[in-house]
Symmetry: none
Subunit: 233 residues, 4 copies
C-alpha cells in the first residue's frame, strides 16, 4: 500500500497454520472487512465522489475514523476496493476449471462465465467505470494490480491453441481480441442497460432479452473463431 494505514498482520488467517488468532485481532479483522464490504456497495452505487465516507462507515456500523485507521484515506480505501473486486473475479474464474481439451465447450463456458459474472456482479461493472472516469489513477497506486492481470486471456489462448490443433478454430485470431470481444459484449450490455433501456424503449434487463443477447454473443464468438470462412467485403 502506498498510504500509511496500519495494516493488521493477520490479514487472512492461513487455514493450515497453527496461528491462534486472538479474539481481538478477529474483531479488528471484522471491522476492517465490514468497512471494505460497505465501501464496495457504496462506491458501486454512488461512484467515488458520491460515495461519502460517512455513508460507508454508517453502512459498516463503524466510524469514519476507522476508515482512516485501516485504509489511510478515502483513496486508499478505494484502491483496496478495486483490488478486492479483481481478486474476487479472478477467484471465480479459477474455480471454473475448464477442460481445454474440449475447446468448443470450454469457449462456450467461458462466454457464459463472463456474461453471467458481469450480470451477477453489477458492482464490478460500476466500479470499473468509476475507475475509468478517474483515468485509472487509483489502480496504478496498487502494488498488487499486476497480479490481477486477467488470466482469462491465457485460458483463451490455451483454448484457441487446442482448437487449432483439433482443426476446430482459426489460427490467425489473437486471444486478446477474443477476450475483449467477450468482455465488451458482456460489459456494455450491463454497463449501459439504463440508457439502452431508455433509448431502445425495451427492457434490456428482462430475462428474454438477456437470453437473446447471450445467444447472439455466443454465435458471434463462434463465427469469429470458425476456421471455415473468410468474410467477403
Amino acid at each position: 500500500m502506498v498510504t500509511t494505514a496500519r495494516q493488521p498482520k493477520a490479514r487472512m488467517a492461513k487455514p493450515g497454520g497453527k496461528r491462534t488468532t486472538g479474539v481481538r485481532e478477529q474483531s479488528a479483522q471484522q471491522t476492517r472487512e465490514s468497512i471494505l464490504r460497505a465501501a464496495i456497495k457504496v462506491f458501486a452505487q454512488h461512484g467515488y465522489e458520491g460515495g461519502s465516507v460517512e455513508k460507508i462507515s454508517r453502512l459498516a456500523k463503524s466510524y469514519d475514523r476507522m476508515i482512516y485507521y485501516y485504509f489511510g484515506s478515502k483513496e486508499g480505501l478505494f484502491v483496496e476496493v478495486l483490488e478486492t473486486i479483481y481478486q474476487r473475479m479472478n477467484d471465480a474464474e479459477a474455480e471454473l476449471a475448464l477442460d481445454v481439451g474440449q475447446p468448443l465447450l470450454a469457449l462456450e463456458q467461458m462466454v457464459h462465465f463472463v456474461l453471467d459474472y458481469y450480470r451477477a456482479h453489477p458492482e464490478f461493472v460500476t466500479l470499473l467505470n468509476t475507475e475509468n472516469l478517474h483515468k485509472g489513477r487509483h489502480i496504478v497506486k496498487s502494488l498488487r494490480a499486476k497480479e490481477y492481470s486477467s488470466p482469462a486471456i491465457t485460458v483463451i489462448g490455451d483454448i484457441l491453441q487446442a482448437g487449432v490443433q483439433q482443426g476446430l478454430m482459426r489460427a490467425d485470431v489473437s486471444p486478446r481480441d477474443v477476450y475483449l470481444l467477450i468482455a465488451a459484449t458482456g460489459y456494455f450490455y450491463m454497463s449501459n442497460r439504463h440508457t439502452l433501456t431508455a433509448f431502445l424503449g425495451e427492457n434490456i434487463d428482462a430475462p428474454p432479452a438477456v437470453a437473446q443477447w447471450k445467444r447472439f454473443v455466443l454465435d458471434t464468438v463462434f463465427r469469429v473463431v470458425n476456421p471455415a470462412v473468410q468474410p467477403a467485403l
Copy 2:
C-alpha cells in the same frame, strides 16, 4: 427543475432569416451555450457529483447564478447536457449519408463511424457512464429523449434488408443485435481504456492497437452477417 428554466426561443439563429434576435438575446444565448459547453467538459471529466457548479461557471467565465437562471438546477443542466450529446451524435450520423444500395460498404462505413465517433468524443462515453451510474434517472426527465432513439438501428435494418435481398447477408440476424455488437465493441474499448491499459500492460490507446481492434471488429461484424456458415458447437 427543468420547468423553471429560461429557454431562449431562438435556439439557433438561421443566418438567412429575418434577424429578430437583438444584441441582448444574442449575448444571453452565448452565455447559455458557453455554460452548456463548459458543463459537458466538466461533467465528462469529473462525473456528476465531482462536477461542481462552481467549476462549470468558472470555466464558462460566468456565474453560478446563471446556471440556475438558464437551467434551473444542476440536475436540469445535466439533463440538457445529455440531450446535447445525443443530438450531436445523431447529427453526425445523419451527415454520414450511407448508400444502402451497397450494403457491405454501408455496413463497413457504419462500423467505422461508430468506432471513430466514440474515439473522437470521449466525453460522450464518459457522460453515458455517469448517467448509467445514476440508473438513467436524468434522461427519463428529458422530454426530448425519445426523439433521439438511435436512428442507427433503423439504418442497420435497411442495410441488412438490402444485404439479404442481394444475397449478401443472413436473414436471421436482428438489427438491434448488430447495432449493439458494434456499439459494445467500440464503447468498451474507449470506456475501459484506462483499466485495460493497466491490466493488459499494453497501451490500448496507441494507433496500432486501435487499428488492430478496428480490423478485428470489422471482421467480426462481417462474419456475423455472413450468410455462408453456421458455426458448429
Copy 3:
C-alpha cells in the same frame, strides 16, 4: 493576494472621490472587515492552529463560508491579518510627527511610542510570535509586505544624523541597532510577561514595574547614543 479570493473593488472608499458606494457594497465591506477584526482577536488569542475558522466566523457574526469567500482560505485570512496589523502600526507611527530638529526629544518620544504601542496592542506581539513560529511563511506570501518595512529605522536614522550634527549623539551607531534595541526591550517585556511573571515571582504587568522598565530602557538608549564615553572593558 496569492489566493483566488474575490476581492471587492471598493476596499477603502477614498474620502475625496465622488464614488457613491452602494448600500450593498457597504454591507459587504462590513462583513469583510468584521471577519478581519475577529480574526485579529482570535489568532492573537489562540495562535494560528488554535484559532479556528469557526471561532472567527462566530465572533464576526458571520459564516465560515464567508471567510473563504473573502479570503480564500484560513491562510489567506492570516496573511491579511498580518498586513493589517503592520499597516496599523505604521499608521500610528506616521501620526507621531516627530520633530527631528530636537533629536533628544524625538528619540525619547520614539522610545515611548514603541513601548506604549506594544503595550497597548498585545495582539501585535502575539501575532508576530505566531508568524515567527511558522518561520514567516505567511508574510512572504504577502505582496504588500515590502511596503511595510519599518519606517521607524529611517526616522531613527534622521534623528541620529541631527543628533550628530548638533554634537549630541555618537556618529558610529547604526539606526538599525538602535531600532532593534528599542524594539527588543519593548517586545520582550510584553511577549514574555507571563513566563517572566512566573519565574521572577513579580507581577511584571503592574504599572510601577512597567514604569521602572521604561525608565531603564530610556536610560539605556540614551547611554548608547551618548557621544561622551567609550566603555572600558
Copy 4:
C-alpha cells in the same frame, strides 16, 4: 493531569551506585525520554495546538497510549517539556563558573552565554513563546517551576556588587534590569528573526549580522553599567 502520570523513580541512574534499575525499567525510562525529546522538537516546531500527540509518538517511535501512560495528558507532557528546557538552561548556566572577582569579564561572559544559548537552542525560544501565548497557564501547574527561577539574576547581582566595590560599575542599576536587557536583546533577535528578515530585507541569521548584533549588545550593556556618565536629555 500531572498527578496521574507514572514517574519512574530512577530519573538518572548514577553510574557508580548500586544498580537496582532492571532492564525493564531501563527500557521504560528510554521510552519516556524518547517521548520527551520528541515532544520538545514537535512542540517547538508546531506550537502546542499544532503539535499533535500522534506526531510526537510517531517521532518517538512509540504509541499515543504511552504519552498518556507516562505524562497523563498532552498538557502534562507539555508541562514537563517546559520543566526540561528550563532545567537544561540552568544546567548550562551552572557550568559557566564565572569568576565574579573579575566583574567586567564575568559580565561579558554572561552576555555571550545568554546570546549563544538562545542561538544554539531555538526550541527554548519557541517553546517560551508558545507558553506565553497560553498566558503561562502550563508553567503554573508545574510544582518545580519555582526551582528554576533564573539564577542568572543572582549571578548578575554578584557581578554588579563586585563591580561597584571595584569602582567599575554603577551602584544604581538593578540586576533584574540588566538581566532583562541581556535576555531581551538576545531573545528578540532569535525569536523574531523570520519577520525581521522579511521586513529588514536582510538576513538576520547570517554570521556577520549576528556578530554585529552581539558587539552592539555588549557595548550597550557596558554603557549601562558604566559609572562615568549620566546621559543628558
